[in-house]
Symmetry: C2
Subunit: 352 residues, 2 copies
DNA sequence: CTGAAAGCGCTAACAT
DNA sequence: ATGTTAGCGCTTTCAG
């Protein structure tokens, strides 16, 4: 199974190295950590390095933590690691940034289970994490578990009632604005908006952005052009009918899945995207958006950034605004569902 | 930001508790860990428990590791945490199973970067992990990095040349067999297979399964009904034409994205799924499969299981076969793309 | 029933 | 230029 040696696979310690090199442990410590102020003879240094090589010495991170008094761990508790590709991006962003600063991520996914959450946080606290990121897979208000008060904590893709905890969240309003702009920019004036039925920051923010974009373009807001639907394919499929009946020429969908349903509905009627109807989504969910026919113009949810900025705030590298928030932009992604000539990025090569 | 106290936020240790409770540290240790053989007076025990509560004592996991000689860490190095929802499932499966046995996962995603990989493994080794899972996001042969020989290691969703490392992999052959069976069971006899262009265990295994299923059903294999295409929407879209021209009534697609492209191609011709063409995918990629119109019958890639079984093998709970492999089944998922009356599971409610 | 003490692997003064 | 030593917070004999 592995190259473990014989009877007592006791790990090789610093003392073993010292012994083999014929020096003291502190000397070994100095050369291994490449300490600045330490003057070690070229001679001895080499002997130590050789011994390290030969014995295959690996420093014990735990022992180090113990003496230094603080670990290089960062906790990340996620409510849904799996249900969606999104959480993965948050983790990746957090991981990359943590790594860059010498931190290791302790990830726990709780699937919303409160007991698991408490246990996960206890685990992190016992590992003396430098702080923890508490994240949600979709932007919403959360009630952070009690244990979190025992350490530094920043909320990612969610926020707490009081507003006392720093929160890193996507800019829903700007996102909705951008999405609507994409349609406006192509000359559309009757623009439908299929929003979600569930009350949420996304619901309110994107609507707000839609209205503002309309206003800024001198187009009056028509309540009838906004319909709420289940935020998935079925919802989009059903919602597009009424909108088409009102002669919209473009539609902004609450998310890419809704847009996917809209595509189906449009096809069902023998119509075409974008010729008969221009469509813009939200989320930029790769599997869907980039590979629909035609590829879907959309606005990206910045999950990677969210994770990344989350650790930056945790480490004190970025400062939240006065309201405790850091708002991350949602960049527009131009593809062919608004204007045939616009989207030029063909889908990337796919493996397996 | 957090409830840190004053100047020196020194953590409360066991000694503090001992002092507060008026007992010795060893007594505290005994009651905190609920040691079996320890006879502690009801009286003292209560004092300790109270002190623990009041001081908010949290045991230091690092110190514990140091004295016990081994950690409760399991490493998981993944090549692509994010590019796909798949890796997320592997992590989740591993996490759940690890957790169940009191282990904590140290996750590192390397995005295929070799330096990151080496560094990640070094990090894990320094944390004295009990072992590490090396995983790939799509089933393939890998060259596990050298550092892994220093600890127990099991391969997940991949395998090594020599076959010396235990490997947990999906049963591609059985999967291909199942997929084909779904079509055969509905009476189809001219069944196309859109395979992938990239050579891989998936390519060979699924083809093998397809052939076996045909043979077992007394249908002769026709090479012309098998076409290789890019394993995505575009590939499926283009490949379906030639197949339709050969009067296939059903098609087995290398994956769900290919099936998505096939749907488009079928629609383009004014045809219907499953009426004019029955379609079966592979992967069971939720976002796609469950929400296509009609919902796609497919075969699931058992990522969660792969991760779960990976840690079981690592912990010695499951034994690999003589060839070092543990093969995990790919269960068929019946939806409406083969037989209208078959798929009954409407898409689940979707949040946000 | 409870406490004293050794020591896990390492770092950081402090000696030499 | 290098060695000695005292802990970091905890578990675990071994004595009382």
């Amino acid at each position: 199974m592995s190259e473990r040696d014989d009877s007592t696979p006791r790990a090789v310690t610093m003392r073993d190295v010292a012994q083999a090199a014929g020096v003291s442990v502190s000397t070994v410590s100095h050369v291994v950590n490449d300490k600045k102020g330490a003057r070690i003879g070229k001679e001895a240094r080499e002997r130590v390095q050789r011994a390290v090589q030969e014995l295959g010495y690996r420093p014990n991170a735990m022992a180090k933590v113990l003496v230094k008094g603080h670990s290089r761990f960062l906790g990340l508790v996620a409510d849904a690691i799996a249900s969606t590709p999104f959480a993965g991006q948050i983790i990746r962003g957090a991981q990359d940034e943590a790594w860059r600063h010498g931190y290791v991520l302790l990830v726990a996914n709780t699937e919303g289970n409160e007991a698991a959450e408490t246990e996960a946080i206890a685990m992190m606290l016992e590992h003396k994490v430098r702080g923890v990121l508490y994240s949600a897979w979709y932007h919403r208000e959360v009630e952070p578990p009690a244990g979190l008060t025992e350490t530094d904590c920043v909320l990612v893709n969610c926020f707490a009632p009081g507003g006392d905890l720093p929160a890193v969240v996507p800019d829903e309003v700007a996102g909705g604005y951008e999405a609507t702009r994409m349609l406006l920019a192509e000359g559309h004036r009757r623009i439908g908006f299929i929003n979600t039925t569930s009350p949420s920051p996304a619901h309110d923010g994107r609507l707000e952005g839609y209205r503002r974009a309309l206003t800024d373009a001198g187009v009056s807001f028509e309540p009838d052009l906004v319909v709420d639907a289940r935020p998935d394919q079925e919802g989009g499929f059903e919602a597009i009918g009424p909108l088409l009946a009102q002669d919209v020429t473009g539609v902004f969908c609450h998310n890419d899945r809704v847009a996917m349903g809209v595509y189906d509905g449009v096809r069902e009627r023998g119509l075409r995207v974008p010729g008969d109807l221009a469509v813009v989504g939200f989320d930029n969910q790769e599997v869907i958006a980039a590979h629909l026919r035609p590829p879907l113009s959309t606005v990206a949810l910045p999950h990677y950034e969210l994770g990344r900025v989350g650790v930056r705030v945790l480490l004190g590298l970025d400062q939240p605004a006065d309201d405790g928030r850091v708002v991350v932009g949602c960049p527009p992604v131009h593809r062919a569902s608004v204007n045939v000539t616009a989207g030029v990025n063909g889908p990337p090569a796919a493996p397996h």
